[in-house]
Symmetry: C2
Subunit: 226 residues, 2 copies
């Protein structure tokens, strides 16, 4: 826990071109369930107020030429975020890769914002954005397992934990790939608001919550790449 | 299977004010994974082209006064949908309840569109919209379990199946609450594109796919309400 004992209620979701939809919509669903019990603010922070697409910007990342144009509208921008932000959710996706130029701005935003936060929650390779911002140096962290080697190469100063559904170190909660963000967020809700409200939310979501942070078959499924 | 042996690739997500985010973003994530293998179109169909919010329109449904303003941008409208739509995904949420006036338009859209579709996939109480459109009459169907009594009362002509993660009858795939839509969509992908590509997508999503349609602990968890 942080020094402040008041449970945080001001959430921001960091979005950028090519973010992975379920990385955030799983956790946001858990928060929306929580909002039935507790007054919460859920804000969306983008590069500008223009809708942000989950489509990979780089055409080479869309090898089949599929039409993927799921767009979410930011409520705030990196330059003008909510002033009282307490918890920042950071998704991954192809747009989070270091080789994608637009991934630099969310890294700067995390670097500038982290010192004011009560909690940072990353999902999937969103951990790479936080790692690049330097805020995970010396901390234990995890990420998605299919691109594990790429992820850990981004920042050797992080103590990378390969077999984990999610990892908690201080106020940093980092989760495995995509769906793992739901388990991490439910565990975070249990940690802050209590087990009962987290379980209630999981049940309303009809989600089979894995509340063992060491449960991780995907580390084995993708183990050949290590 | 329908008469056409060509696998469908034109997907539409029906959205309306107060739709449940994970109901569609779980299935859409599965489709986005599939789009790495197959050329797909994923479109978003709303009342107008204005962004559609997941916030319940009725203030009485937001008892804590939380700020929930997650907005998704439609690519098409009910009046001007994609002409070659093959698969329609229908989420639930508070905005799908019969008592909410804006739920009438998606019902009309389903009624008008269903005859041209190859497949209809409903998630959670989205099944109520399809049931009200009459397209499930005489068919087996399921929905979310916490409001089961309300759901089945909407349309007695449907053969409601209470204990089911998802139900398939003809070209109608109906799933249980929220997360169940992911299992139904993965099963649908396996049915149409094969088990291997579905499993690959589930693994990339690091999602513990329940491919047994009869697996449903939530029917028991919420059983007291039956």
């Amino acid at each position: 826990m942080t020094g402040n004992t008041k449970a945080p209620s001001k959430f921001g979701v960091l979005i950028f071109p090519g973010f992975e939809p379920l990385d955030v919509f799983g956790p946001v669903e858990a928060l929306q369930m929580l909002s039935r019990e507790v007054k919460l603010d859920i804000t969306w922070i983008g590069p500008t107020l223009a809708p942000v697409s989950t489509a990979p910007k780089d055409i080479e990342m869309n090898t089949t030429g599929s039409l993927i144009d799921t767009r979410v509208v930011p409520t705030h921008t990196y330059d003008n975020p909510p002033k009282d932000l307490e918890v920042l959710l950071v998704p991954g996706g192809m747009g989070a890769l270091a080789e994608v130029p637009t991934s630099a701005a969310p890294v700067s935003f995390i670097e500038k914002t982290y010192p004011k936060l009560k909690y940072l929650i990353t999902i999937c390779n969103g951990v790479e954005l936080a790692a690049r911002a330097g805020v995970l140096d010396g901390k234990r962290a995890t990420g998605n397992k299919d691109t594990w080697k790429t992820t850990i190469a981004v920042r050797p100063q992080v103590h990378w934990v390969r077999v984990a559904r999610y990892v908690v170190d201080g106020n940093c909660w980092t989760s495995g790939g995509v769906s793992a963000g739901i388990d991490a967020t439910l565990a975070w809700i249990a940690h802050v608001y209590g087990e009962e409200v987290a379980r209630k939310g999981a049940n309303f979501m009809e989600y089979e919550w894995r509340d063992d942070r060491n449960w991780d078959p995907f580390a084995y499924i993708f183990g050949a790449e290590v």
